[in-house]
Amino acid sequence: MAEEKKWYTGMFSTEDWWSFWIGLFFVLVGLIAAATGVDISGWVIGFEKWVDISNALQPDHAGMMSGISSLIVSYIIFTIATCVGAYFMGMDMKKYFWAWTIIFWLSAIVYVLSRHAYIQATSIERADFGIGWSLSIGGAHYIVALFVGLLIGNLAPKSFREFMYHGARPEWFIKIAIVFLGCKLGMKVVDSAGHALTLLLVGACATVAAYLLFWPLVYTLCRKGFKLTREWAACLASGISICGVSASIATGGAIRARPIVPVMISSLIVVFAVVELVVLPPVLTYTPWFQEPMAAASSLGLTVKTDGADAASGAITDQLMRTRAQQELGVQWEEGWITSASVMTKIWIDMFIGVWALVLAMLWLYYVEKRHDEKVQKMEVWWRFPKFVLGYFIAWIAVGVLGMTVIGGEAMDWGIHPFESTGRHLFFILTFTSIGLVTNFRKLAEENMGRLALAYGLGLLLIIIPLGWIIAYIFHNGMMPPTVG
């Protein structure tokens, strides 16, 4: 039965809130470990580079337990956590559990195999592994996971593909990972407040520029160039300019569009995002963008739609650029900063989607369609606000403040590292596998997709990517990731 929506509606039934609850639960576990010295967080499984496969698995706190035990414990604990969320979200528990289990173990196998030293060891690491050559493909595990997911998602029998959708939740997994990423920024506040805060501020500036430039230009291209109706042009403009599927849905709802509009556009967004995820990281790494790693990463937040694909492309770029920097420049950039830059811009973009939806709703209802019986509710700004962002900032502030005061940096790092780093990587690879599973290239062949796909592709190539690169450069040029050692 329909109920009147309150400010707390959905707090225990939506995926966004459950990324908040699960993310912060584990952050709390890390904080308790840090504060008490009792090791309740070190069990999280880490996947190491190896030549001897017996060294491939290791808990974050080495020696706490065997690698296999850590993997099984991690599976059990994260299964319980996500199943609790799935239950309250009203999912089919049996289907979720089995689909999740397949995704977890498939991702783990891919992670282990892809971390072989012949694939991932840098030139500097070869001697340590006793090998004479390696491909040095940092982040290979993410790409392999994506392609395994794509193979299943596009070639497996339809019944199996649809079954796997029950566990393939890339947005949920990446939002949990982003809450964990907040801890990393918190640790950076402990080490040096300036860098993290600078990233926060320039991300905001880049976002405002993007909203004010991208949306009107793409809307005009759709209306004048492709003769799309207002309904289609507005949803496509939001989808391609702001935060992808989320923006497409929010805009469709704001302007009271028929649901088929955001549904079709979202199908396109997901496919194009995967293409960008594969193409952009090597383009940025092996062009002059390599000299501006933070600007390059921020450009991903402006140009790659969907939180999952953006964070994923940031993670791959992080790995590729750090590998190249280590091999060619002899410099070791700290892991996670390039990822953080791509995520930060996207987070600012996500935060404003509620405001944008409110603005569009008021424009449409009061000026375009003049429906005087209907009232725009200002609570839309809160209802549409991405709750996982609250988790991200709470983690950031809690780790930063407590790490600088009562707990101390060293203890904080010990307690929180399993989630800030190892756990984050695990949820990233789950995201990659899931992105592949839900991306169906058959959608492009569906009726009436051609003109939309062309509008989307041209908008991306002619407006979003070039302007995104310019904006990212203007606000981030000269920023470099901190170095290690």
């Binding site: 039965m1 329909a2 109920e3 009147e4 929506k5 959905g10 939506t14 995926e15 966004d16 959708y165 393939a168 939740r169 890339p170 947005e171 949920w172 992808g244 599927v245 989320s246 849905i249 929010a250 469709g252 709802g253 704001a254 009271r256 028929r258 649901p259 088929i260 955001p262 549904v263 979202s266 969907t306 369609e369 429906r371 019986d373 209907e374 009232k375 509710q377 839309e380 209802w383 549409r384 839900v438």
Partner: protein, 83 residues
């Protein structure tokens, strides 16, 4: 009665609003709102000078399953009918 909560969705051709007491369908939202106003008037006979608020909650389960993880809801409409 001053507030009525209903769910609504689009079946590919028209918008449909419903609750336990009534169901209204129309090709556009403007038409739907007009029909809803009249149906409520005939069903409940609201007194002259009263205002009825109708909260229309879009049935999100009609959106493809893979999409709903991206955003918490599609739309909530609030209509205010003055009689």
């Amino acid at each position: 009665m001053s507030v009525k909560n209903m769910s609504f969705y689009h079946d590919g051709r028209q918008w449909i609003a419903r609750d336990e007491d009534l169901e209204v369908a129309a090709p556009s939202l403007t038409d739907l709102d007009g029909k809803l106003r009249e149906e409520i008037k005939s069903l409940y006979s609201p007194q002259q000078g009263t205002r009825l608020t109708v909260n229309l909650d879009f049935d999100y389960s009609t959106i493809p399953h893979w999409m709903i993880q991206y955003h918490p809801y599609y739309m909530h409409r609030r209509l205010e009918f003055d009689y």
